[in-house]
Subunit: 484 residues, 2 copies
């Protein structure tokens, strides 16, 4: 069932929301009278299409339809989620919410991207205060999972629960905050760093480039995977957190930070920072920097997913709901065992998908088939698995980054110790590679070949029988360099 989201205000944040909703299959109605709104949304959609699907090893739902509404009423009508991302002026938001509530469904979620205002402030004077909540995302919204979710005493708990469900379904990580404080949590931490950084630049202690290096070559790497407290817990060693705090306590009183007041952001400081930033990053356009940032984030998020750590655990949970449907083993057709977009991390110096990633695709696809056959994490934990003993890959055509690849599989031999599989990798109607593999069922305790459990043997034997009458694939049993 396609659902509709209304995006009110399409700057960087609103456009990011639009892209996230659309790529997760929602229809999106954008309302922003600015003449640049369409271009901003299109740019965000392009960046999201190049990055968000690349986080997943399964296909996303079909993209929703993005339209630009001529008036607010049309945008919010029938919307299940209404996201406000207009400038941070309370009077503006109040006026907007009044008009929204005159036209939207009372059951819709009306969420604000505000970083500064509390729900109570936003709800003041509203027709239905309980409908308005804070859902504060982080740029780029289509890649970063965090959303700070805040309600007030007026907010029904089931509305917050519903909001959490929707955000989960978008692949995001709602962090529901019980207390209303200005700037929620993350921006308070960011503000603190920002002020200190301004002092360091103003006083000539460091340039913007040096401060950025001090972050991304040191603690920034730590914070991509563990936060502040868990990191310090480790530093405290086996003495534990209380030990660390008692040791660290005295240092807290040292006059280290300049944060006792706020630096005057006068024109001289603005110019100083702008000039240093030009020196640091001016060689790249904003679009180039955005692409670099997104490619870096995709790369980091993908390895965190492999490790099931931090934001990668969020991705894993979401991906579990995107798995391909299990085929009936008796169907006389090669099942689709992999369906995915080629991520940027799979590129090589020839600008296309690297040869090793073909084997990764075949390996993942084969794992999917075996999983359907019964080689579940539980079966593996019980000591059953397969080891590949031989592989023959033929590259028939190039595959590009961003291409959607599909792998189909034929069971040539299966049901006993040996498992012989034929795989084809397609982009649309182009056969780009074939992979022929011989695998052995093994006992993980002895690391030697073994007969698979009945359930797995039976499934593979049925698939072999169902595939037996399909045309014999061209290329099976071929050695390297051998002609047809």
């Amino acid at each position: 069932m396609t659902r509709k989201a209304a995006i009110l205000g399409a700057g960087v944040i609103g456009a990011g929301w639009a892209a996230r909703f659309a790529l997760m299959g929602w229809d999106v109605a954008v309302f922003d009278p600015s003449p640049t709104a369409k271009a901003t949304v299109e740019a965000a959609l392009d960046r999201a299409r190049a990055s968000l699907p690349a986080l997943y090893d399964s296909p996303l739902p079909p993209e929703g339809r993005v339209t630009h509404a001529a008036d607010l009423a049309g945008a919010v009508r029938d919307a299940a989620w209404i996201q406000e991302s207009v400038p941070e002026r309370l009077d503006l938001k109040h006026t907007l919410f009044q008009e929204v509530q005159a036209h939207c469904s009372p059951g819709a979620i009306l969420a604000s991207s505000t970083s500064g205002f509390t729900p109570t402030e936003l709800q003041a004077g509203a027709q239905r205060p309980g409908q308005i909540i804070v859902a504060h995302p982080f740029n780029p919204v289509y890649l970063l999972p965090l959303v700070e979710l805040v309600g007030s005493g007026e907010t029904p708990r089931d509305l917050l629960a519903k909001a959490e469900q929707v955000l989960d379904s978008l692949g995001m990580a709602p962090l529901t905050i019980e207390a209303e404080v200005p700037a929620h949590i993350a921006d308070r931490l960011l503000e603190a760093v920002w002020r200190e950084a301004l002092w360091l630049v103003k006083d000539g202690v460091a340039t913007t480039g040096q401060i950025d290096d001090a972050i991304r070559l040191g603690f920034g790497l730590r914070w991509a995977q563990m936060g502040l407290f868990e990191t310090y817990r480790i530093a405290g060693g086996d003495g534990g957190m209380a030990h660390f705090l008692r040791q660290f306590g005295p240092a807290l009183k040292w006059p280290w930070t300049r944060l006792m007041d706020v630096p005057e952001l006068d024109e001289a400081l603005v110019q100083k920072i702008a000039a240093q930033s030009d020196t640091q990053s001016g060689a790249h356009s904003i679009a180039e920097l955005e692409a670099m940032r997104d490619d870096n984030l995709v790369s980091i998020l993908r390895v965190l997913k492999d490790r099931n750590a931090g934001a990668g655990a969020v991705l894993r949970g979401h991906e579990a709901g995107l798995a391909l449907p299990a085929p009936d083993p008796d169907t006389p057709a090669m099942p689709v065992t992999l369906d995915r977009q080629v991520p940027v991390t799979w590129v090589d110096y020839n600008g296309h998908m690297n040869e090793a990633r073909f084997l990764q695709a075949f390996s993942n696809a084969c794992d999917q088939l075996l999983h359907w056959a019964g080689m579940t994490p539980e079966a593996i934990a019980a000591g059953h698995s397969v080891f590949t003993v031989e592989t023959h890959i033929r590259h028939l055509d190039e595959v590009q980054i961003g291409d959607r690849i599909r792998v189909k599989a034929r069971v040539i031999e299966g049901g006993g110790k040996k498992f012989h599989i034929w795989q084809e990798l397609w982009v649309g109607d182009r056969l780009c590679a074939t992979g022929e593999q011989m695998l052995l069922h093994v006992d993980l305790a002895t690391r030697r070949s073994a007969v698979p459990p009945d359930r797995i043997a039976n499934w593979l034997a049925r698939a072999k029988a169902a595939h037996a009458d399909l045309p014999w694939p061209e290329g099976v049993g071929r050695a390297v360099g051998q002609r047809a």
Copy 2:
């Protein structure tokens, strides 16, 4: 030439320095009278051996010898680098430096890991003040590249330049700070965040787990690859940094942070944080958390290296100096084309090196051979390259994470459009896999086969001739499932 480092104080930081120096080939003398010092250093060495080499696709130099000195004089004698990491008490450091300078070479670098004191404070009363500098690293020292390097007016510039060279050679990223301020740069930013976080916990706004999620699911991901200013530059869009600052300026005056004073870290707050931290992380021992952190950092650093971004660019620069020596193509022996440790990111659910990583190893090794033959980045930029058309891999034995693998290559056909290569992957004296590949030289403009440039053709033809009389490898020309 092996050089010697003296490590004075072997807590978490000192032990991390010892591991970094030793794994980069330095002999290390540790001086720390604590009864736990040996165990701390051994644990750091174990973690470093499991992680630091995994960052590189080339072998590190042979590990240096780590000894524990009975007295300070013995530790610092003949040391080229002396690193002090004792507790943060100025009187303690002054006493130590006096004794060090009585025994060390005047040409040695005497660096302090202090996070709080300035070089001028450290140098007070010293025999040779100019010899003492700050080299402030970040935990884990054996993985994070950042080192804040600070001197005083007494510090000779060439000593700082020498220190930068040494840190570069250790794979670290020295950030030389011109001004002396308490806590340098990074810890000022960290302190600001820490204080704000303490307020949030104390006031019951958020738990330690929520604050950690607010970091690692949002801005922490950004900061692993770009810092504060570059991230905000992007947020400013094409209006540039000055535009962003003018827009952001007013918000800076909002009463968002509680940092106007320092929260009282009384026993109640200590217990509150400790209990929340237990809830958040108590299921894992510190050793487990350290291993998770290190595996995550290795994963993140490796993808940043692929993208040449942030800390990954530091790794790339360092790795360039670790490349294998180019062989003479006329030598009648298979050259070693890859020599590396198997990183944790190459594991699969069977607990060993995944099959796709065998092809990655063969692919990288083949690229190395072609690079020696003249397929340089310049040649590729000029439109010359190779595409793999066929691969046959036989898995003869398992390879484990942490194993040191070596690939050897034989040119079966080379010099014309076709390039036929035979590769063997060894762990010690175990042949674990063979890879037979057929590649085509291509013109990258037409994506079609082409005759390689003379230089490359000539090198490969010579290698083919030199390998021609070697024994014919068992397994060449074999199809999947075909017996000898």
